[in-house]
């Protein structure tokens, strides 16, 4: 019971943290009326002041405004990528696990090939192939490379769920394969799907940051990764302009940490074997 309480605290902590970050990114710009993250308000790396709370970046843009918009961009890209990865993973995993036979062989073969090819390579190649990268395009590209692990896990769960009695009963009563997968199999995987989405969200945000830091970020907008990209390129770290890189790095860490904490605390709640420690 004490353990459960501790888990609950961790769960609550991560949820509150995430809610704060999300509302900062989505409501912040609206409430403060700052909707132009790319507007120039000062010079190169102005110190934090009353006008620019977190100083300005290398182009004289307000870091605080950029931070809010950057968080929003990163979260949207992560969510698109996560949703896409889960969707592809679910379709491929359930079909492979439920139908079996040659369909399973082919689908899992594809999955295994995609797993072995490092996703960062595909991401780099796709990003240079697309000249204008919108937020949605970035999210879709990232999601395209991160589904295989979900597909594998879903397939494993589906193969075991398929042999359960309630599925047999549904099948005997004449349910179609598609409806069967949706009504008899998917509900049992809901908790897994939610957790996988949390992880995929995290992966998506970090992948976006990696790409952006290599100079392949979304165009005409700002993201946390792009803030770091410019901060590195314009030597804000080496000149000591801490406001250029600490805020985005801090928030990337905060988002990643709270997502992982959320995932692990939910995992421990649902999976008693892990609770012993």
């Amino acid at each position: 019971m004490a353990n459960l309480m501790r888990l609950n605290r961790r769960f609550l902590f991560s949820v509150i943290m995430l809610c704060l970050v999300i509302s900062f990114g989505f409501l912040g710009p609206v409430i403060l009326g700052r909707d132009k993250p790319l507007a120039t308000v000062g010079g190169l790396y102005d110190h934090p002041s009353e006008k620019a709370w977190l100083g300005t970046d290398n182009f004289g843009r307000d870091v605080f405004t950029q931070l809010m918009h950057g968080i929003r961009t990163s979260l949207i890209i992560g969510a698109i990528a996560g949703a896409e990865a889960i969707l592809i993973g679910l379709v491929i995993g359930t079909l492979a696990g439920y139908i079996g036979g040659i369909v399973e062989e082919v689908l899992m073969a594809t999955t295994n090939v995609v797993i072995t090819i490092p996703s960062i390579v595909i991401l780099i190649l796709l990003s240079i192939a697309i000249s204008t990268r919108s937020i949605v395009a970035m999210g879709l590209i990232i999601g395209l490379t991160s589904w295989p692990w979900t597909a594998r896990a879903v397939r494993a769960q589906t193969s075991s769920l398929r042999t359960r009695e309630h599925v047999d009963i549904a099948r005997l009563s004449g349910a179609a394969t598609f409806g069967l997968i949706i009504w008899e199999i998917l509900p049992y995987m809901l908790s897994y799907v939610v957790m996988a989405f949390v992880l995929q969200l995290n992966t998506g945000i970090l992948q976006e940051a990696t790409l952006s830091m290599l100079g392949l970020g979304p165009s005409d907008t700002i993201s946390l990764g792009q803030m770091l990209h410019w901060a590195l390129l314009w030597e804000s770290v080496r000149t000591g302009a801490w406001w250029g890189f600490v805020p985005p790095a801090l928030f990337l860490t905060l988002i990643a940490f709270s997502l992982l904490l959320l995932q692990s605390s939910v995992d421990e709640l649902l999976n008693p074997r892990l609770r012993k420690a």
Binding site: V121, I122, A129, S131, L216, G240, A249, F257
Partner: protein, 337 residues
């Protein structure tokens, strides 16, 4: 054909397929670019005012034929594959006479020298820490472990940036950029070696810290399962010293961690590209960063190919090793695929 031979054949075919797909993607994706990369390059040179229109045309023609862009797509592909089999990755756009393979050959040793030791040290320390934390519990589990968990859940480049700022700028203990002092040229002198080691510590440290955390988490989970095993209870009831028991657990929990090590070594080059960018370290990551900024497609393609081959090879070796070590996996894998 023995069971193992068919397993081997299966694996080889499998990785051949993955390799072919990787090769095709590597060829095709950069060519999806509307217009072509040469337009971009020459366009930039022209606006930069470094070229007269006549030379621009010459450069353009030279690049087009070098990249083979005047040929039909299938010819280009055959050309690409033929050049690859000769170890020819083409010529860099941005650093024109330099060959791509030479640029990569220059950068690769730095990356390997930075990452291989970091992975090995981080792996060893992380696994030891994981077992200790699982076995001893107490303050180790409550204090040290969450710290490492926090660090390893940080995006690794964020930790790098913070360490760089603290140690190189704020306290000014270590140099802030490069693989060696800009004032020196690479020679085997004492001064140069000292400069290299000074520049080495920060990037190395940031990689090791991240790696320790990740490994420790995995090893702790594995060891916790082992704590329940009969041999642990038996040894405990016999009063075997803790260190011996820990050594037993370590050996038993380690097998999955070995896979992790092999894969980490395989994805070494792609694993921490940004670390090099952060520290301006002269490795593959920095080369890639520079090439992307300059639209230097042959170099980007060469690097991505290298990354894919390294990961595929590591995966293959891991699978092979598992076939030797564990017959159950051999049977299951050949059935699954």
């Amino acid at each position: 054909m023995t069971r193992f031979q068919s397993y081997l054949l299966n694996k080889i075919l499998w990785f051949m397929l993955a390799f072919c797909i990787a090769l095709t993607l590597n060829f095709l994706l950069p060519r999806l670019i509307p217009g072509n990369p040469v337009d971009v390059i020459v366009g930039e040179m022209a606006t930069g005012g470094t070229l007269s229109s006549e030379t621009a045309q010459k450069v353009y023609a030279a690049y087009i034929s070098e990249f083979g862009l005047d040929q039909p797509m299938w010819m280009q592909f055959l050309l690409y594959v033929r050049n690859l089999t000769r170890g020819d990755l083409g010529i860099s756009f941005a650093r024109s006479p330099s060959r791509v393979q030479d640029l990569i050959a220059q950068a690769l040793p730095w990356t390997i020298a930075l990452q291989l030791p970091a992975i090995l040290v981080g792996w060893t320390l992380g696994n030891v820490l994981g077992v200790l934390v699982a076995y001893k519990g107490g303050w180790l589990d409550r204090g040290v472990f969450p710290t490492f968990m926090f660090i390893s859940s940080m995006p690794y480049y964020c930790l790098s940036i913070i360490l760089l700022y603290l140690f190189a700028v704020y306290w000014n203990i270590f140099p802030a950029a490069g693989g060696y002092s800009f004032a020196l040229t690479p020679t085997w002198s004492w001064e140069f070696v000292r400069s290299v080691s000074e520049h080495y510590i920060l990037p190395f440290g940031s990689l090791v810290l991240i790696f320790i955390g990740g490994q420790a988490i995995g090893m702790r989970a594995m060891s916790i399962y082992e704590l329940d095993a009969d041999y642990v209870r038996y040894s405990r009831s016999l009063g075997v010293a803790d260190n011996r028991i820990i050594a037993y657990i370590f050996r038993n929990a380690m097998l999955p961690q070995v896979t992790g090590l092999a894969l980490a070594i395989g994805s070494m080059v792609s694993g921490a590209l940004i670390t090099e960018v952060v520290f301006s370290y002269p490795g593959i990551g920095s080369l890639l960063f520079g090439s992307i900024r300059q639209n230097d497609y042959p170099v980007i393609q060469g690097i991505t190919l290298l990354l894919m081959v390294a990961v595929l090879a590591a995966n293959f070796l891991v699978d092979l090793a598992y076939g030797f070590i564990d017959p159950r996996i051999r049977a299951r894998t050949s059935g699954e695929r």
